[in-house]
Amino acid sequence: MKLPEVLEMAVRTDPGLVRSHNEDAVFADAALGLAILADGMGGYNAGEVASGMASTLLATNFSRFIPTCSGRSDGAGDPDFAGHHLVSEIKAANLAIFNAAQSQPQYAGMGTTLVLAWFYDNRVHVAHVGDSRLYRLRRGHFEQLTRDHSLLQEQLDNGMITAEEARFSQNRNLVTRALGVEPELEVEVHVHDVWPGDILLLCSDGLNDMVEDEDIRLTLLTLAGNLELAAEQLVHLANDNGGRDNVSVILIKVLGEYPVPRGWWQRLLAAMK
């Protein structure tokens, strides 16, 4: 089946109740199988510029790459190749944001987090930088698939603090990696299998800082039949709990399988559809 038939996507982004600017940027396209969420930071409106650059650059450049790789059984469809390409596009976006920040004084110090999900051949490539997250709801089990690049996560990993203390930590929003801060960037990419019925959630920290995982799980479970409403409800929950930050969510529901046609016969069939 083709991607737009098997992926349902819902997107919401909201400034929250406290901030006047929305520095988050989102992009989602079921036909490309691509979802991007970026959470910008930096004075005045520079955060918006950084997150906007990240999502726009990646959406544009990556969407040129995607059509060339579908339907090919050679190297281009190879997950390793695709993964490398993904990393190089993110590094290019990093450099573009870094250069803008260096050359324009009003953008000095800007940066952005990123979480990107690309659905291809019954799998999803997940790339992330910073503390924007990807969660998966599978058969009632809700799981965080990304690990924040944040000071808090490192303190947790080192055993300096417990999960209970982390909930009240003052450092929860200090990220250790972001796009646009340094010319070099380390991107974390993982490939996960995808099952029909899975619901994936990309979100900025405005959601997971304000809403407990259990409440997110309950919302997705209850409203799985209406993805738009589920996205809306998540934003409501964040705002009802104080809405201290911009909140963005992208929900993706997988309705069926999407294997890439491999033999010439399957390619012909796919072309005729």
């Binding site: 406290v18 901030r19 006047s20 930071m41 004075g43 003052q170 929003n173 340094e182 039949g225 929950l237």
Partner: protein, 233 residues
């Protein structure tokens, strides 16, 4: 500094800084914000600003003043509140504390942070600024708790049965046929259509796709089952 953005039909007309203690809104020319439209009363409303707080008061206008869709008499303005007077809208934007130069740097990154933080050398000392709470007012007080509520089935095999709405979301109906959800939010209970061709009926009126606030003793009909919503004292 806080400000109001005046617009009509999505068109921004002007920005008004809340730089005086008393700012009047009305149709007559002596108002600080004059809106020359017959739906606006001569003296319609006033915004009183004390330090960082702004209060909106309706001056017994003929057509009333709405904040976020609810009619108000007096209201403490919160960031992004939408005030409606007739066809005109005023968006309230809370002022941001002016960040100092140092603050701004800290808000993003210190050079090298991205590379070195894994070595824990740059662990910030306590009280160091975080991305989330710089230059913003303190978080709003925790949401007020609302009274409990329940629904009672009025017909069907389980007539008389009561269901307490203790969760943030409670679904009603039959999956595949018609499902609606009641969301428990700090300012009340809201019913929304989830799936199915038929929309829920509240007090004889079919809903649209929007969330609908539930009032005490409202009669809701979903998938042929009638039920009564009521608040618990």
């Amino acid at each position: 500094m806080a400000k109001l953005i005046l617009s009509m039909d999505g068109l921004v007309l002007k920005e008004i800084a809340l730089n005086k203690e008393r700012l009047t809104i009305g149709r007559k020319p002596h108002n600080d914000i004059q809106i020359d439209n017959l739906a606006i009363s001569g003296e319609h409303a006033v915004v009183v600003t004390i330090l960082n707080d702004s209060f909106l008061e309706d001056l017994n206008s003929t057509n009333g003043t709405l904040v976020n869709g609810q009619p108000i008499k007096k209201h403490i303005l919160r960031n992004n509140d939408i005030v409606e007077l007739g066809k005109y809208r005023l968006k309230y934007m809370a002022g941001e504390a002016e960040p100092s130069g140092d603050f701004e740097k800290a808000q993003a990154f210190r050079p090298g942070m991205a590379k070195l933080a894994s070595e824990m050398e740059l662990a910030p000392t306590s009280g160091s600024p975080t991305r989330s709470n710089i230059g913003v007012p303190p978080p709003p007080p925790p949401a007020p708790t609302i009274p409990g509520a329940a629904i009672q089935l009025l017909n069907g095999p389980n007539a008389g049965k009561e269901l307490e709405l203790t969760k943030t979301l409670t679904t009603l109906g039959k999956p595949g046929l018609q499902v609606a959800v009641i969301a428990r939010r700090p300012h009340g209970y809201f019913i929304t259509h989830v799936e199915g061709k038929q929309f829920p009926v509240v007090n004889g009126q079919a809903l649209d796709a929007q969330a609908h606030p539930l009032g005490d003793h409202d009669i809701v009909e979903i998938a042929g089952i009638k039920m009564e919503f009521f608040l618990k004292a």
